[in-house]
Symmetry: C2
Subunit: 251 residues, 2 copies
């Protein structure tokens, strides 16, 4: 059982940013410079090829801290950000690049799914160990409501099995932008907490029908789909329901 | 050219409700008890079998008046509310009831589409004449921004061709709950103003794929789909983007 070890701290505009490791998994915790302990904790998962402090994710995290007083945690996915890649990771990435370069969409999907499966198998227990460790911090504690705060593409491909496996997560924001495979559909069918799902209507690679089938699969009685034109790399989710987390992460 | 003739007026909680006729089309205008002239005007269309003061629609209208200071207008669709039905209307309604009673979904769709076409052909020019007359009222005027404020089912089946035909409408809220037919898709392809589309995910009769194709057809660069589980008769649109009209109906 690993504890949270803080390695760096900065502070700006009322938001404290602390880098940490739990075991060999590096993460970052954004929290209010002042406020009561036990604030809701939101987990954010970055997209494929990105990292825990990707600007768009860091901006969403800071916004959640300043608007609602939440604590936000993000970790680097396996082989992302500060983390070493395995030989298998390197091979998967090379094959994905090659498939895109040659316009072989079938191969791109096949390699992407295999890579996402491999990352997810590693990432779910890492998130659970991180959550265990964060809940042992006195400023968070075991009673703070926990939500999954989204991230499209890889962040959701990991977030869905994590939320299905993890009863501590009581509301989740997911988003499209990745290939949907059978294990993800099966995990979605086990999710019953409120779900907000963001669908980029015109993803460059993913057939939207597969993502609509994924939304359909969630067992959650309270689920809402928000779709806007554009590919997941460029889309901005203004004008959707900003009140989702505050409604569902009450202390 | 008909003028607005007011026939009744009541007032409660800061909202003035005035019944009117334009020619032989009865309508209702909700407006703030006090406020500047030229407030944005929102047109609301009720669902099939309902009428201009249906409680859910009246509540949405009053909310738009009190929250944003808007003026809201609604009219009875042909053969609805206070309006007489033609022999063709009566026959269509009888056939729809019979098709539902016998579980003949194919016939129900066929008759529903023919009836919606007939209602829409009559309703679009009625809405345009109503809008002409309303804009000649000094408290509204020709400069007030005009939006179509939704209503699922029939309100959208009429609202889509109206918005396609009517350059005065600069933003529109639509919603599913009706059979999509070719003329509606063609009208959607001519719409370029911002669209907010509410999709009941589990409509009792309508295959959601047809409604998703309708959303896909809008030419609007700014369009957002919001979907929630449930049939269109029961669904409540809490937790979607309440800021849509205020963003797009600026004076």
């Amino acid at each position: 059982m690993h504890a949270v070890q803080f390695t760096a701290e900065t502070s700006a505009n009322g938001v404290v940013e602390r880098d940490f490791v739990v075991g060999d998994v590096p993460g970052v915790l954004w929290s209010p410079a002042s406020g009561p302990d036990g604030a809701p904790l939101v987990l954010m998962g970055h997209g494929g090829g990105l990292h825990k402090k990707t600007p768009a994710q860091a901006a969403r995290a800071r916004d959640a801290v300043t608007r609602w007083g939440y604590t936000v945690a993000a970790i680097d996915a396996p082989g992302h950000g500060e983390r070493p890649r395995t030989a298998g990771d390197e091979q998967a990435r090379a094959e994905m690049r090659e498939a895109v370069a040659t316009g072989d969409n079938h191969r791109f999907e096949k390699v992407s799914v295999a890579y996402a499966r491999s990352l997810t198998e590693r990432a779910v227990p890492e998130w659970q160990a991180t959550l265990d460790a964060l809940q042992r911090r006195p400023e968070i504690g075991p009673e703070a409501p926990v939500g999954y705060g989204g991230g499209v593409s890889l962040g959701t491909a990991i977030g869905i099995p994590l939320t299905a496996a993890e009863p501590r997560i009581t509301a989740a924001i997911f988003g499209g932008g990745f290939f949907v495979y059978d294990d993800l559909l099966a995990a979605a069918r086990r999710i019953t907490v409120p779900v907000q799902f963001l669908l980029p209507w015109d993803d460059a690679y993913v057939d939207r029908r597969t993502t609509l089938a994924l939304f359909d699969a969630f067992a959650s009685p309270d689920k809402t789909l928000h779709a806007k034109p554009g590919d997941h790399r460029r889309i901005r989710w203004s004008g959707v329901d900003d009140g989702f987390l505050p409604r569902h992460l009450r202390r």
